[in-house]
């Protein structure tokens, strides 16, 4: 735009595109499996395409691993357990520190690839995901030689081979959450990345090779749901860790029970933001925005239900309406994009279906009037107001940029409504009153309770759910336990 010197307000100031260059990342046309420290062809010889959800363009072909490949990977991991577990713990630390540093060195490359393959805004992959990945490896590198102090007198020992299945919403971060504690505790790993977002895991495999990680300690088998099912059902694994949908989690639990495999599950959620009338309203608005529109709402601990005290309902919704109109939706690689692309066509269809259901139920709603790109999978930030507790959009996880707003009158009612869900992963409490924060936090049936903030992650802090949100904790000292044989675990 040009500035009219007499009246600079006659044209809006548009931010010019500021697109992150993709030169930093070198993408192969085809990726094999990562087994025993090298890239190998899949037994079936078949590959599938991974696409950029913002453009629908094919990025690369990735190996489709099957039962035979899983078996090969598990055998490789088994063969490496003895050597890895018997290394002096301080030596294991060194590998993890090395990996953490390499992640930092290649952070821009990993961030760009994460945004290309998964659709999340570059400002998030760059400022949040990749930083937390490195932090997680640094953190668990520190624990590796202190396990005897962490669990004094309990003689902690590794389990052996850990099977790990991770989702598409935070591909590399979920890898870090699973791989770092498993390796720190002396286990070896077979990891199955999500079908739509395998690329950063495959670059990570190269990083472990660069770090000199012994062959077999980390194996990566890409593929779809069948590949994951084959891993979960393999009787050669000692533990299965899964992050993903509740339906798949339940299946995994059945299979694991049959094989006597240990299980931890991190599943869905329908987190509640509870905003009291004495809250710092402008900051609560930001928290609510971050809680549901961060990563397009593809966050298991998203604050997808807003419980706002009835006395401030009107003013809160007014401000929310204004605020969502300033969210910039579009090209994930533009540094000014706030909300990127929905991860896949299937997920977009799921969001559209639930939003249609919400409208059919007669709920009021409003939506950002932002322009959406013509190609790719995008969904405008959407808010349903005065939603009934019984509504589908209040009960089911949408996993998209859609917020359901309800009201409450008293703290007791807020607790009752917030807990009235089969899930139990996260909650946010917004009040200026310290004693009320503690009173509420005591009563929230959710693994994480944030007070006057939301979606804050730190490797030192355990994360996990209640009920249909799963069990087991990742992060912190608690995150070591699921990978240890000990007097308590």
């Amino acid at each position: 735009m040009t500035v009219d010197q007499t009246d600079p307000t006659n044209e809006p100031w548009e931010y010019a595109p500021s697109t992150q260059s993709t030169d930093v990342v070198d993408i192969a046309s085809r990726y094999g499996l990562w087994i025993h420290g090298e890239e190998v062809d899949p037994a079936s010889g078949s590959y599938f395409a991974t696409t950029n959800p913002a453009t629908e363009d094919r990025i690369a072909e990735v190996a489709s691993g099957d039962r035979v490949d899983i078996d090969r990977a598990v055998k490789s991991a088994r063969s490496a357990t003895k050597g890895w577990a018997s290394l002096p713990a301080a030596e294991r630390s060194k590998y993890l520190f090395r990996i953490a540093r390499l992640v930092q060195e290649r952070s821009r490359e990993l961030a760009v690839l994460e945004s290309l393959d998964g659709g999340k805004p570059i400002k998030e992959s760059r400022d949040i995901d990749v930083n937390l990945v490195a932090a997680h490896f640094f953190y668990y590198a520190g624990w590796a030689d202190k396990l005897e102090y962490a669990f004094a007198g309990l003689d902690p020992k590794p389990l052996g081979v850990a099977g790990q299945i991770i989702p598409w919403n935070f591909p590399l971060l979920m890898l870090a959450w699973k791989v770092a504690p498993a390796l720190a505790t002396g286990n070896t790993v077979v990891l199955k990345p999500a079908e739509t977002t395998p690329l950063t895991a495959l670059v990570f495999a190269q990083i472990t090779a660069e770090a000199g990680l012994p062959p077999g300690v980390l194996n990566i088998v890409t593929g779809a749901g069948d590949t994951g099912a084959a891993l979960a059902a393999h009787d050669g694994i000692d533990k299965i860790a899964f992050t993903g949908s509740t339906a798949v989690g339940k299946n995994i639990q059945k299979v694991a029970a049959a094989n006597n495999t240990r299980v931890t599950l991190e599943l869905g959620g329908k987190g509640a933001h509870i905003v009291f009338d004495d809250a710092a309203i402008d900051q609560a608005i930001e928290g609510v925005i971050n809680g549901i529109f961060f990563n397009q709402g593809h966050v298991c601990c998203a604050g997808s239900r807003l419980l706002v005290q009835e006395s401030i309902r009107d003013v809160f919704l007014d401000r929310l309406r204004t605020r969502i109109s300033t969210l910039r939706v579009g090209d994930p690689l533009d540094k000014n994009t706030d909300v990127g692309a929905v991860n896949s066509k299937a997920q977009l269809a799921r969001i559209e279906e639930l939003v249609a259901a919400g409208k059919d139920e007669g709920n009021d709603w409003f939506q950002s009037d932002c322009a959406l790109p013509s190609d790719g999978y995008f969904f405008a930030p959407t808010v349903f107001t005065d939603v009934a507790q019984s509504s589908r959009i209040a009960q089911e996880e949408i996993f998209g940029p859609v917020l359901s707003v309800m009201t409450f009158r008293t703290a007791a009612e807020a607790v009752e409504k917030a807990n009235n869900t089969p899930y139990g992963l996260s909650a946010g409490i917004w009040t200026n009153k310290g004693s009320r924060i503690l009173w509420m936090a005591d009563r929230m049936r959710s693994g994480v309770v944030w007070a006057n903030t939301f979606n804050k992650f730190d490797p030192a802090s355990p994360f996990g759910g209640y009920q249909e949100s799963g069990f087991g904790r990742e992060g912190g000292r608690h995150g070591l336990l699921p990978y240890l044989e000990s007097g308590v675990a």
């Binding site: 735009m1 040009t2 500035v3 010197q5 009246d7 600079p8 307000t9 809006p12 100031w13 548009e14 931010y15 010019a16 595109p17 500021s18 400002k123 400022d127 004495d278 809250a279 710092a280 309203i281 402008d282 900051q283 609560a284 930001e286 928290g287 006395s311 401030i312 009107d314 003013v315 007014d318 300033t326 540094k335 000014n336 200026n432 006057n452 903030t453």
Partner: protein, 320 residues
């Protein structure tokens, strides 16, 4: 004169008749500010990547929003005339660079400034009310304001009585602003909160609410005379107060961060913050000013860089 609640439909308080106790009760209904949350919001504004055309537009707009300021004991008419020339034609080699918004000077230099910018678009602002401390009785402040307006100042930058505010005598603080507003007549009133002396963002919001209710046309962060001057979080809280006032009354209040803004990059962060907090309507010198003494040359340097592709040394930009 009435105070309208910043967020809900509470009955308005008539300030003229309000006791201090009533003002205090009213202030307790102003929503609190979470400092951590405000800082996080600001970090997002700073992370916006403003390039190419958008950057050029921002830089030119920033020039038009500047109150070029000199407030020193050794100010002279010569110094003010120099500053005026710079303000009229910031970059003599580039006529596309617009003039600044105003000159801001001490009362004794108002006549010089008025004469120096005669027949230009540039306004003259004078600090008053015994800037920067404001520690004199009210009648002295009123006389000073009447004098600068009579001398031709278009805008008056007053300081609030922080002593009164901090000891809880809100009525005294408000009475002063009301009296000064009256003394301003047609001149625009900018009310300086001196946020570095208010201690926290809750107080910034309260002082903003009261200043607006008492008739401020602009609210301004700082005198520039203490080390903690304008910051992005402080400005954000003031902008949010302005936004709520606009939502409740439809009235546009202006904002002026002052002191400590020295780089073009920082100035652009402020523009991003206005754009995303109050909207494009506020991206105008009528509603937003930068109180600055050394920002202009950095902005000019960036403008020339965008046009030529390389930076030029400080000696290629005039020092007034």
């Amino acid at each position: 004169m009435s105070i309208t609640h910043t967020s809900t439909t509470e009955p308005a308080l008539n300030l003229g008749a309000a006791t201090n106790r009533e003002i205090l009760a009213f202030l307790s209904t102003v929503p609190p500010v979470d400092e951590v949350g405000a800082s996080e919001r600001v970090a997002l504004f700073k992370s916006r990547s403003i390039k190419a055309d958008a950057k050029m537009a921002a830089l030119l707009l920033a020039v038009q929003m500047m109150d070029l300021t000199t407030l020193q004991g050794d100010d002279t008419p010569g110094k003010v005339r120099q500053m005026a020339a710079k303000g009229i034609r910031p970059d003599p080699s580039d006529p596309t660079v617009p003039p600044v918004a105003a000159l801001c000077v001490y009362p004794s230099l108002v006549p010089t400034a008025v004469e120096a910018v005669a027949n230009t678009s540039i306004k003259v602002a004078s600090v008053a009310t015994y800037f920067p401390s404001g520690q004199v009785p009210l009648d002295g402040k009123i006389t000073e304001v009447e004098n600068v307006v009579a001398a031709g100042a278009d805008e008056v930058d007053m300081v609030i009585n922080r002593g009164a505010f901090l000891r809880g005598d809100y009525r005294a603080m408000c009475e002063e602003i009301v009296a000064i507003k009256k003394a301003c007549g047609p001149a625009h009133l900018k009310v300086i909160l001196e946020t570095g002396e208010l201690g926290n963002l809750d107080n910034v919001r309260r002082a903003s609410v009261l200043s607006i209710a008492c008739g401020a046309d602009f609210i301004k962060t700082s005198t520039g005379k203490i080390s903690e001057a304008a910051t992005l979080p402080v400005t954000l809280v003031m902008l949010e107060t302005i936004r709520e006032h606009f939502a409740n009354t439809g009235q546009h209040i202006g904002m002026k961060p002052a002191g400590g803004i020295r780089s073009a990059k920082e100035a652009i962060s402020y523009l991003v913050m206005i754009n995303e907090t109050l909207g494009p309507q506020w991206l105008s010198p009528d509603l937003f000013r930068f109180g600055v003494s050394s920002l202009l040359n950095d902005v000019l340097m960036q403008i020339r860089y965008l046009k030529t592709g390389h930076y030029q040394g400080a000696d290629y930009f005039t020092k007034d």
